[in-house]
């Protein structure tokens, strides 16, 4: 359940945020939405793919965190076991909402900070305060402002990236055949990546277009992240062994 409300320093003056990176604390997902601007730092930690947004039809970059719907293999003894956390994880329990304001007579959607009051990390007793004693922004909240801004900007970058890659027929679906140490196996569908041979066959003007828009960089970050799939399988194997012992 979620309960999203506009964050304000009166009703929420006593709220604190204490993210607990254990199963059952609001981070139980095997996919984390990621944004083009963070692919560089993510490619060293997570297997990166695209998933198709059924509503918009766009292919959105995604980090794979586990192999079944609620499996997050980066939750490790209460901490997030990676050097870099995707912004979409880091921002929780905050999110961006929109408020219509009239600027110069034009109705304009202005991004504002919302909070999910039902997120398990939110309480009045534990963790980092959201506000200073007189209503100013706490250090944590100030740190989240650029994260939320980056997410907002990142959202707007996804549609043009997806349209360009689809237009060049570079996106292909992948099906992952996985085998784990306990002998179980799994087929994971619904993920997409970039077809390397079609990329290699692109004529020079198309490559230049990709390069100028910064998309060539994004593509190579995605491709370079593939070895992390092995590491993720290893995480799963370790979890299986730990559970068995």
């Amino acid at each position: 359940m979620t309960n999203h409300v506009l964050l304000n320093n009166v009703s929420h003056k006593n709220l604190r945020v204490n993210p607990t990176y254990r199963p059952g604390h609001g981070f139980d997902t095997n996919l984390a939405r990621v944004f083009p601007h963070e692919l560089l730092v993510l490619q060293n930690e997570y297997p990166l793919f695209f998933i198709k947004n059924r509503e918009t039809g766009h292919f959105e970059p995604t980090a794979l965190l586990g192999f079944s719907e609620h499996e997050n293999l980066y939750l490790q003894d209460g901490r997030w076991d990676a050097r870099y956390m995707p912004h979409s994880v880091e921002r929780q329990p905050l999110l961006i909402g929109f408020q219509e304001q009239s600027l110069d007579g034009m109705p304009t959607q202005v991004p504002v900070v919302h909070i999910d009051l039902d997120h398990p990390s939110v309480s009045e007793s534990e963790g980092m305060p959201l506000f200073l004693p007189h209503g100013g922004e706490s250090e944590w909240l100030e740190r989240m402002t650029p994260v939320l801004k980056a997410i907002h900007d990142g959202h707007e970058a996804i549609a043009p990236l997806s349209q360009t890659l689809v237009g060049m027929e570079l996106i292909e679906s992948v099906s992952l055949d996985l085998e784990f140490r306990d002998g179980s196996s799994q087929v994971l569908k619904g993920l997409y990546t970039v077809n390397e041979s079609r990329l290699a066959a692109l004529p020079a003007p198309a490559l230049e277009t990709l390069h100028r828009k910064g998309y060539l960089h994004h593509i190579y970050m995605l491709l370079a992240s593939q070895p992390n799939l092995e590491t993720l399988v290893e995480r799963k194997n370790r979890a299986l062994m730990a559970a068995a012992s």
Binding site: D104, G105, M106, G136
Partner: protein, 336 residues
Amino acid sequence: MTRYGRAIREADGADPGRVLAETNGRAEPVVFRGLCSHWPLVENAADPEALERYLLAHYDGAPVTAFVGEPRNEGRIFYNDDVSALNFQQIRSRLDEVLSRIRQASAQSPAPTIYMGSMALDLCLPGMKAANSLPTHDLAATVRIWIGNRSKVAAHYDVMDNVACVCAGRRRFTLFPPDQLANLYLGPIDLTPAGQQISLVDPDDPDFERFPRYADALARSQWAELEPGDAVYIPSMWWHQVNALSEFNILINHWWRDTPEHMGAPGDVLMHALLNLRGLPKRQRDAWRCLFDHYVFDPPEDGLDHIPENSRGILGESDDDSVRQWRVILRNRLNR
């Protein structure tokens, strides 16, 4: 109704090409008759259909904000009975919808109020600006268009200097010098129809028992009724009440502020003072009044002579770079 005060002084033969530059810095209001008679909008002023066609030919579909009020408000853009909410609805609309609502309202009696105020011409009707506004020279100016049926906006101030040009319909402007604020019975600062506090007196039917000092404000008022093509200069900070008197009114105004870009909004200082000065004991407030007078409101000419120029810091001349540091310091201090 008896008119109090006096008519705004009228200037003859102003040159529309230079009027903003020549008006900049003047302390008193001025009316310029026929200043904009040559604008295409004004030439069509008597023909609402032609006006509508002209506007829509330049409209590119940008969303607009409009105020819609119930007929019983009689055009007053104001508050509800206990001043706990505004008496109109703010809607997201389009120019064509605003125009058709005005057209429909003209067939109704009493009519609802439709008021699209302060829309940036650059954003809404960019192609219309060249032929329907005054040259703004190198002043940092913004040009706005106001379209609506009958309306009355209570006295309020704007921080910027203003030359407002009536393009269609008749408009009555009633101006009060800045020092009349106590006589205008101003409303709240944080809930306002359009950003500034307004007079709570109903100018068409003033209740002198509740608002006795309003008579003093009227005695000091200056007013003018403008026809299409006429313009008025409203100096920064002069209280102005504006009545749009026709079924279809268009106004284009020019706002500018002849101060360095790095200077922020003076209203922020007032808000800060309300929070941090007003609650002090009187003797402390009196001391702060001395400081403000000395440094801000009435600094003696030789007040800084005893400090070497390089050591004057924020007391000395400010420029973009020096203000940057202080803005950050102030911002950090406010975050507590």
